[in-house]
């Protein structure tokens, strides 16, 4: 499942995938794969992404209709 919230939050802060990747210490490919839903990050990386984007875990990863 695509993570459009992450993409939107990143674009909202005018960050490229590379800039976000550098901020959290991963490769650009990893950010791309998280956004496209091809990789599930660890909780540690999720928290790092949230801190870098100034949002909460709920904002990025919670799906209301997922259940």
């Amino acid at each position: 499942m695509k993570n459009l919230k992450l993409k939107a939050a990143r674009a909202g802060r005018d960050l490229s995938q590379q800039q976000l990747a550098d901020a959290v210490g991963v490769t650009r490919q990893t950010i791309g794969m998280i956004e496209s839903g091809n990789f599930n990050p660890s909780l540690q990386l999720c928290v790092a992404l949230c801190r870098a984007l100034g949002v909460t875990l709920n904002d990025l990863f919670w799906e209301d209709d997922a259940i």
């Binding site: 991963v26 490769t27 990050p41």
Partner: protein, 160 residues
């Protein structure tokens, strides 16, 4: 002081482990197949495949010890118990007995009834040996699981 700093992120590491996992099993079964073909079909002397046997046993025993220490039994297919010990001992000893019997017929032209009898004797001995090993390993794994549970138990839960 660290001389080499890893530039891998968690996804790359996970993908590397996945690749290693697949090729570990390819190497494991390939090595076993190579040993069996050499020893039982081509009739090579033991000293020719001794090195391969050593490597194979290091991998097999090392993996078993590693899994057992982490409380992992058989990749989650079953739980340690008599049923599982019977099944694995049965499969292992049956496969090896068939191999022994077949190689006796093919390599040494042993009469069928002698090869069959040897196969049965081999099966019984191996079955007992494997069952005992599995039972010991299973008991150790259950003990390890209990210890790991206690080690990481929530203090609030243990008080109540």
């Amino acid at each position: 002081m660290k001389f080499f700093h890893s530039h891998m992120d968690e996804r790359e590491r996970m993908e590397m482990y996945t690749v290693e996992h697949y090729f570990f099993w390819v190497a494991f079964w390939g090595l076993l197949a190579a040993i069996l073909v050499q020893d039982f079909i081509l009739g090579a002397p033991f000293n020719q495949s001794a090195g391969e046997w050593v490597v194979f046993m290091v991998i097999a025993v090392g993996s078993c010890i590693g899994y057992a220490r982490k409380g992992v039994y058989d990749g989650g297919i079953s739980q340690p118990g008599v049923k599982s010990y019977l099944l694995y001992s049965g499969i292992g000893s049956l496969a090896f007995s068939i191999l022994i019997g077949a190689s006796m017929i093919l390599r040494w032209q042993t009469p069928l009834h002698i090869a069959f009898g040897s196969g049965i004797v081999c099966f019984v001995f191996l079955f007992v040996l494997l069952f005992a090993t599995m039972a010991l390993l299973g008991a150790y794994i259950q003990n390890r699981r209990k210890k790991l549970e206690e080690k990481f138990e929530d203090e609030d839960e243990s008080d109540s």
